[in-house]
C-alpha cells in the first residue's frame, strides 16, 4: 500500500491514483482509435470464423475485399466464395516421362494466383532436378538449376507443389483452424484467419506452403481480377498460402493454369470420382506413384510415366 511513485515534476502519487490515471488514459486512447479507425479495419478485425459466417456476412466480406483491391490496385475485381460441387474430388497427374523442367508452369501459376513477384518471391511450384535413375533420392534434388537449354542429358525433372493430401498433416497442426480440407478435396487457407505461426509449413513433407514475409509485390497491370476467397486474392503480410489447384478455375470447370501453360502436356487434371476422367484413365493404365506415400498423407497428386 505504501509503495509511492515520484514523477518528474516531483508530485507524489499513490499506486491507486496512478492506476486510475493510467486506465483513464487507456480508455480515452481506445475511443480515439475507434473514432479515427476506418470501418473497414474494424470489420476485418471482427470478421467471424468462415463456417460461422452467414451468407449476408460473406457478401459484406466480398464487398469489403473488392473495395480494398479497387483502392489498392485501381482495378475492379470479382471475389468469389464459390463452393465445392457435388461429387467432385480433384486429382492431379504429372507425367515424369514428359516434363522437361522449363518452369513455364511456375510462372503461369504466379501470374494466375497473384503471388508476390519479389521481396518476397513466392512460388507454389518447385521444379526439382534429379539425376536419372535416382528418383528415390530426393536429398540430391536441385531446384536452382539454370542451363541454357532443357532438358539436360542425364537428368529428370519433377515439379512438386501442394499434393492436396486426403490426410493433410498441415491441417492437423493449425492451432486456429485457419486451414482445412474442402469437400472437393482441396486444402485451403482462410488468409483472414491465419495467424502466421507457420506450423503448417513445418508439418508439410512436400514444402507445399510458402509464407508472406512482407506485403506482396504484384504489378498492378498483371493483377488477375477473377479471384476466389480461398485462392488467388492478394494475400497480406504474415500469412501462409499454397497451391489450391487454381480453386477459382476448377470450381467453374476450367483447367488449372499450370495445366494450360505446360508446353509438353505433362500435367493432367480431373475428377477422381468420374470414371471417364483423364485422371482415372492414367491411374488405371499407367505406372503411377505418389510422393512419400509411406507418410500416410494420401496425396491426390499422381506422378506417372507414360513411356
Amino acid at each position: 500500500m505504501g509503495q509511492r511513485t515520484r514523477t518528474m515534476s516531483g508530485n507524489l502519487y499513490t499506486r491507486r491514483t496512478f492506476m486510475k490515471i493510467l486506465s483513464a488514459g487507456f480508455v480515452a486512447g481506445l475511443g480515439g482509435i475507434n473514432a479515427t479507425c476506418k470501418k473497414v479495419i474494424n470489420e476485418e478485425f471482427l470478421q467471424k470464423y468462415f463456417s460461422e459466417m452467414t451468407d449476408e456476412e460473406k457478401k459484406r466480406v466480398v464487398q469489403r475485399l473488392e473495395e480494398k483491391y479497387l483502392k489498392q490496385y485501381g482495378k475492379s475485381t470479382r471475389v468469389s466464395f464459390g463452393e465445392a460441387k457435388q461429387n467432385t474430388l480433384w486429382g492431379y497427374g504429372l507425367d515424369l516421362s514428359r516434363c522437361i523442367g522449363c518452369r513455364r508452369c511456375v510462372y503461369a501459376c504466379v501470374k494466375e494466383n497473384n503471388n508476390s513477384r519479389y521481396k518476397p518471391q513466392l512460388h507454389w511450384i518447385r521444379v526439382i532436378r534429379l539425376k536419372k535413375g535416382n528418383l528415390i533420392s530426393l536429398e540430391n534434388a536441385e531446384h536452382y538449376y539454370d542451363p541454357d537449354k532443357v532438358p539436360e542429358e542425364g537428368f529428370i525433372y519433377m515439379p512438386v507443389q501442394c499434393q492436396q493430401c486426403e490426410n493433410p498433416p498441415c491441417v492437423k497442426v493449425c492451432p486456429v483452424h485457419a486451414t482445412w480440407k474442402e469437400p472437393d478435396g482441396l486444402v485451403v487457407v482462410d488468409y483472414d484467419w491465419c495467424i502466421g505461426c507457420r506450423y503448417c509449413m513445418a508439418a508439410c513433407p512436400y514444402k507445399g506452403r510458402v509464407f508472406n514475409w512482407a506485403e506482396p509485390n504484384i504489378p498492378k497491370e498483371d493483377l488477375n481480377t477473377t479471384m476466389h476467397y480461398f485462392g488467388n486474392r492478394p494475400r497480406m503480410k504474415n500469412v501462409v498460402d499454397k497451391c489450391t489447384f487454381c480453386i477459382q478455375r476448377v470450381r467453374s470447370g476450367r483447367y488449372p493454369a499450370c495445366v494450360e501453360a505446360c508446353p509438353t502436356g505433362t500435367r493432367k487434371f480431373g475428377n477422381l470420382l468420374d470414371k471417364n476422367s483423364e485422371i482415372r484413365y492414367l491411374i488405371e493404365n499407367k505406372r503411377v506413384f505418389r510422393l512419400k506415400e509411406d507418410l500416410n498423407t494420401e496425396p491426390k497428386f499422381y506422378y506417372f510415366f507414360s513411356l
Binding site: G93, D95, I100, G101, C102, R103, R104, V106, Y107, Y118, K119, P120, Q121, H123, R126, H143, Y144, Y145, D146, P147, D148, K149, V150, P151, W213, A214, G253, R254, Y255, V259, E260, C262, P263, T264, G265, K268, F269, G270, S277, E278, Y281, L282, N285, K286, S306
Partner: protein, 169 residues
Amino acid sequence: MRVLVYSFLLLFLCSTLSYVQGRNVKVEFPVPRPPLSKGIFPCSSCHEGIPANPTKRQLKDEHINIKLHHAEGVRWCLDCHDPTNRDKFKLANGELVAFTESYLLCGQCHGTTYRDWKAGIHGKRTGYFDGGNRTYLLCVHCHDPHDPKFKPMKPEPPPYGPKNANNVR
C-alpha cells in the same frame, strides 16, 4: 407382320442415316486450325493441274525448307500427302482425311500414343474440362510433322536463392 417389317426397315434406315451424318460431322475432337505456314493452304492453289511425280526424291525447287527427320529414308511426301487431292492426307487404306483430322494419319503408326491422346493423357487439353469449350490440340501443334522430335528450350529463371537481394528475410 407387315408393320413389324416396315418398322424394322425404318429403324435400319434411320440408323444408317445417323451413321452417315455422324461420319460427316465428326465433332469428337474439335481442334483449332492446324498451324500451317501463312499462304500455304490450300495446297491445290499451286498444285492444281500439276501432275504428281511419283518418284521418290529430294525436293530441289519448292519446299526446300522442309528437312524430313521423320523416319527419313523410309518415308517421303506422298506416303502421307495424297497425290491427286492435294488438300488431303491419304491413310494406308486409301481413305482421304482433312488436315484437321491428321491425328488419324499419325495414329496409323503411333497407335499407343494415339490411344493415350484420345484419352487425354498424351498432349494437352485447355479451356473447360467440365462442359463449355474444351480445346484439343492436334499432334502437329506441338510436333513438326516433318521433324517431330520435341526441341529443347530455354528454361524460365530459377527462383531467387535465400541470399538474393530480391528476397526478403
